[in-house]
C-alpha cells in the first residue's frame, strides 16, 4: 500500500518544468480541483452577502422571533429553524433504528444469495427523486397518516403528561410528523449503506472469536461489531442527518408551509428549505428576499457543520483501519 502511494506522489511531484503540454495540463488539473473549493467558498460568500440586509435589519433577533409577516416586513427565523430541526429529529429517530436493522439483516440474517438484490433494492430508494417522494407523500402517505395513524397516536399517546402535547391535534395528515417520516424513508438508504459497508470492515478473526466463545449473532453485533465501528456508524448517521436537514422538495409538499409555531407534530409548519422553495419567487420586496437568503445561509452553516463532523468520524475508522494493516 505505501509503495503505491509513494510512486503516485512522485509522479505528481515531478518538477513543473518539462514540455509545455504538461505544464498546461497540470495547470488545468489544479484549476479544476480548486474550482471545487471555489464552489463551496463562493456559495458561502454569495449567500451570506445576499442575506446580509436581513441580518443587518433584524440583528440577532432574526433567530429568536416567531413572526413571519411579508405585509409588515417583519421576518424571524425561529419557526423555520424549529420546523427543520423537528422534522430532521423525527427522521433520525425513525431512520437510525430501521437502517441499523437493515444493515444487521444484510450482514447477519439474510442468506448470501439474497444480500445483493435486497441491498440493491434498498439503495434504489436513494435513487428516487425527492419530488417523487413529495407527490407520494402528499397524495398517498398524508391521507394514510390522517386516516389510520394519527387518530391512533392521539388516543395512545395524547393523554401522556408532557409528551402528550406532541400528539394532540387534528389529524390533518399534512404536518411535521408526516414530513419527518418521509425524510426518514429518504435517508434510510444512505445510513444503512454506510452501516453495512463498515460492518463488513470488521476483521473476520474478531467475528470468529466472538462466535467461537459462544456469542449469539446479536451479541456479536451489539458487543463486537458496533463498538468496533462506532465512530463510522455515527459518521453515517450524521451524513443522513445532513441530508434530512437540507432536503427540500419532499418536505415542501407535505409540510403545509405555515409560519405558525405549534408544539403538536400533527400541525402544518415550515422548514428553512421549504420556506425558500415556496416563497422565493414570490418574494416581492428586497428585505423579504434577503430574509429567505439569510435562512439559506443558516441552513448552509448547519448542514456544513453536521456533514463535516460526519466525514471526520467516518475518516477516523478508515485511519485506524489503515494503521492496523
Amino acid at each position: 500500500m505505501s509503495g503505491l502511494l509513494v510512486a503516485r506522489s512522485e509522479i505528481a511531484a515531478r518538477p513543473a518544468v518539462g514540455p509545455f503540454g504538461d505544464r498546461l495540463f497540470r495547470a488545468l488539473l489544479i484549476g479544476a480541483a480548486l474550482s471545487v473549493l471555489a464552489l463551496l467558498g463562493g456559495a458561502a460568500i454569495a449567500i451570506f452577502w445576499g442575506g446580509l440586509p436581513a441580518f443587518r435589519h433584524f440583528g440577532l433577533g432574526f433567530f429568536t422571533r416567531l413572526a413571519w409577516d411579508p405585509v409588515r416586513q417583519d421576518f424571524g427565523a425561529l419557526v423555520p429553524i424549529y420546523g427543520t430541526l423537528v422534522t430532521a429529529a423525527i427522521a433520525m429517530i425513525t431512520a437510525v433504528p430501521v437502517s441499523f436493522g437493515i444493515a444487521l439483516f444484510l450482514t447477519e440474517v439474510a442468506p448470501h444469495w439474497l444480500r445483493a438484490p435486497i441491498g440493491a433494492a434498498i439503495e434504489l430508494l436513494a435513487g428516487i427523486p425527492s419530488i417523487i417522494y413529495g407527490m407520494w407523500g402528499l397524495f398517498v402517505f398524508a391521507p394514510f397518516m390522517a386516516d389510520h395513524v394519527e387518530p391512533g397516536l392521539t388516543a395512545l399517546l395524547g393523554p401522556l403528561p408532557l409528551l402528550g402535547v406532541l400528539f394532540d391535534g387534528p389529524p390533518l395528515g399534512i404536518g411535521m410528523l408526516t414530513a419527518g417520516l418521509i425524510l426518514g424513508i429518504m435517508v434510510v438508504p444512505f445510513i444503512s449503506a454506510v452501516m453495512r459497508d463498515v460492518f463488513r470492515l470488521v476483521p473476520q478473526a474478531l467475528r470468529e472469536s466472538a462466535l467461537g466463545l459462544g456469542a449469539t449473532r446479536w451479541e456479536l453485533v451489539w458487543r463486537v461489531v458496533l463498538p468496533y465501528t462506532r465512530s463510522a456508524v455515527l459518521g453515517g448517521v450524521f451524513l443522513g442527518l445532513g441530508r434530512a436537514l437540507g432536503e427540500t422538495m419532499a418536505v415542501t409538499f407535505v409540510l403545509g408551509n405555515a409560519h405558525d409555531f405549534n408544539l403538536s407534530l400533527f400541525m402544518p409548519s415550515t422548514s428553512i428549505a421549504a420556506a425558500i422553495a415556496n416563497e422565493f419567487t414570490e418574494a416581492d420586496s428586497d428585505l423579504y428576499r434577503a430574509s429567505l437568503v439569510a435562512l439559506g445561509f443558516v441552513l448552509f452553516v448547519i448542514t456544513f457543520i453536521v456533514l463535516a463532523l460526519g466525514k471526520l468520524m467516518l475518516a477516523r475508522l478508515a485511519q485506524s483501519e489503515g494503521s492496523r494493516r
Binding site: 502511494l5 510512486a7 503516485r8 506522489s9 512522485e10 509522479i11 505528481a12 503540454g21 504538461d22 498546461l24 495540463f25 488539473l29 484549476g31 479544476a32 480541483a33 471545487v36 473549493l37 464552489l39 456559495a43 449567500i47 441499523f100 436493522g101 444487521l104 439483516f105 440474517v109 433494492a121 434504489l124 430508494l125 435513487g127 428516487i128 425527492s130 419530488i131 417523487i132 417522494y133 413529495g134 407527490m135 402528499l138 398517498v140 424513508i185 434510510v188 444503512s192 449469539t216 449473532r217 446479536w218 451489539w222 451524513l239 437540507g246 427540500t248 422538495m249 409538499f253 428549505a273 419567487t281 437568503v293 439559506g296 441552513l299 448552509f300 448542514t303 456544513f304 456533514l307 463535516a308
Partner: protein, 282 residues
C-alpha cells in the same frame, strides 16, 4: 445448571427478537419502495399517451403535453454535462494523481464529499445571487449552471475512485516510455478507467435529472415551447412541482405522467450504472 439454562434461553430469545426486528426493518424499507413505485406507476400509466410528447404544457383547464418541459430539461442537462463533466474529470484526475498526500488534495476531497450531500437548494440560491440577480432575469443558462454544480462533486468522486484503481505499473510504463503526463493520462489512464468513469457520469446524470430545488429560481418555468437559453426555460421537475400542487385535474394528471417518465429515466440510469460496475469487476 438451571440458572445457566435460563440465561441461555434468555440470550437466545433476545437474539431471535433482535434478528426478527432486523428482518422487519428490511421489510419496512422494501414496502416503502414498492408503495412509492406502485403509486407512481399506477397514477402515471393512467395519464400516459402520445400527446405528452407532441404538445406543450397547457393553460389551466385545457389539454396538452409536456413537450416543452422535456426539451428544456434535455437542453439544460446536456449543457450541464458539457460544463460539469470536464471540470469534474480534471479535478478527479488531480485528486487521484496527487497521491492523497498533499494537504490541498485532502482538502478538496473533504470539501467535495460535503458538496455531495449538501442541500441542493443552497446551490439554487448561489446561482440566483451570482447569475440571475446580476443579469436581471431567470434563464435556462442559470438552470444549467446550477445543475452542473450539482453534477460536479459526483463526477469528481467517481473519477478519483476509479483512477486510483488503475495499477501504478501502467502509469510507470507509460512514463518510462517517455510519454508526457498529459498523454499518459489521456491515452493510458482514461481508457483503462473508462467503464468506471462512464458509471460516474451516469450516476451524475441520474442525480441532476431528478433535481428540482436548484431549478426553482434559476430556470424558473416557461409555459411555451422555447429554445432560448437566456430566458426562463420549461423543465420537467418544475412543471411536475407546479402541476402537482395545482387544483386542475388535467395539470395533476400531467404531473403524474411526468413523474413516471422521470422516475423511469432516473432508475434506469442508476440500474445501468450498477450494471456497468458489475461488468467491470467481473
Amino acid at each position: 445448571m438451571t440458572p445457566n439454562r435460563g440465561r441461555l434461553l434468555r440470550r437466545q430469545a433476545t437474539n431471535t427478537l433482535a434478528l426478527s426486528l432486523a428482518t422487519l426493518a428490511t421489510l419496512v424499507g422494501l414496502i416503502a419502495l414498492v408503495w412509492i413505485l406502485a403509486t407512481i406507476v399506477i397514477n402515471g400509466a393512467a395519464a400516459l399517451g402520445p400527446h405528452l410528447f407532441t404538445r406543450a404544457t397547457p393553460p389551466p383547464g385545457a389539454e396538452g403535453g409536456v413537450l416543452n418541459a422535456l426539451l428544456g430539461s434535455a437542453m439544460m442537462t446536456a449543457l450541464a454535462l458539457l460544463i460539469g463533466a470536464p471540470i469534474g474529470i480534471l479535478a478527479g484526475t488531480y485528486l487521484a494523481e496527487s497521491g492523497g498526500r498533499r494537504w490541498i488534495a485532502e482538502l478538496v476531497r473533504f470539501v467535495n464529499d460535503i458538496l455531495l450531500s449538501a442541500p441542493s437548494i443552497v446551490i439554487g440560491l448561489f446561482v440566483y445571487e451570482i447569475i440571475v440577480q446580476p443579469s436581471g432575469h431567470f434563464s435556462g443558462l442559470a438552470g444549467a449552471i446550477a445543475m452542473a454544480m450539482v453534477l460536479l462533486p459526483v463526477v469528481v468522486r467517481t473519477t478519483d475512485e476509479t483512477l486510483r484503481l488503475v495499477p501504478v505499473s501502467l502509469r510507470e510504463a507509460a512514463l518510462a516510455l517517455g510519454a508526457p503526463l498529459w498523454r499518459m493520462v489521456l491515452f493510458v489512464l482514461y481508457p483503462a478507467a473508462r467503464a468506471g468513469m462512464l458509471t460516474g457520469l451516469l450516476l451524475g446524470l441520474a442525480r441532476i435529472s431528478g433535481e428540482t430545488a436548484p431549478l426553482l429560481f434559476t430556470a424558473l418555468n416557461n409555459q411555451y415551447l422555447s429554445f432560448d437559453l437566456t430566458r426562463p426555460l420549461a423543465n420537467m421537475p418544475v412543471v411536475i412541482f407546479q402541476f402537482a400542487l395545482s387544483p386542475y385535474p388535467a395539470w395533476q394528471s400531467l404531473a403524474w405522467a411526468g413523474a413516471l417518465l422521470m422516475t423511469l429515466f432516473v432508475l434506469l440510469l442508476s440500474l445501468g450504472a450498477r450494471f456497468m460496475v458489475r461488468v467491470r469487476t467481473r
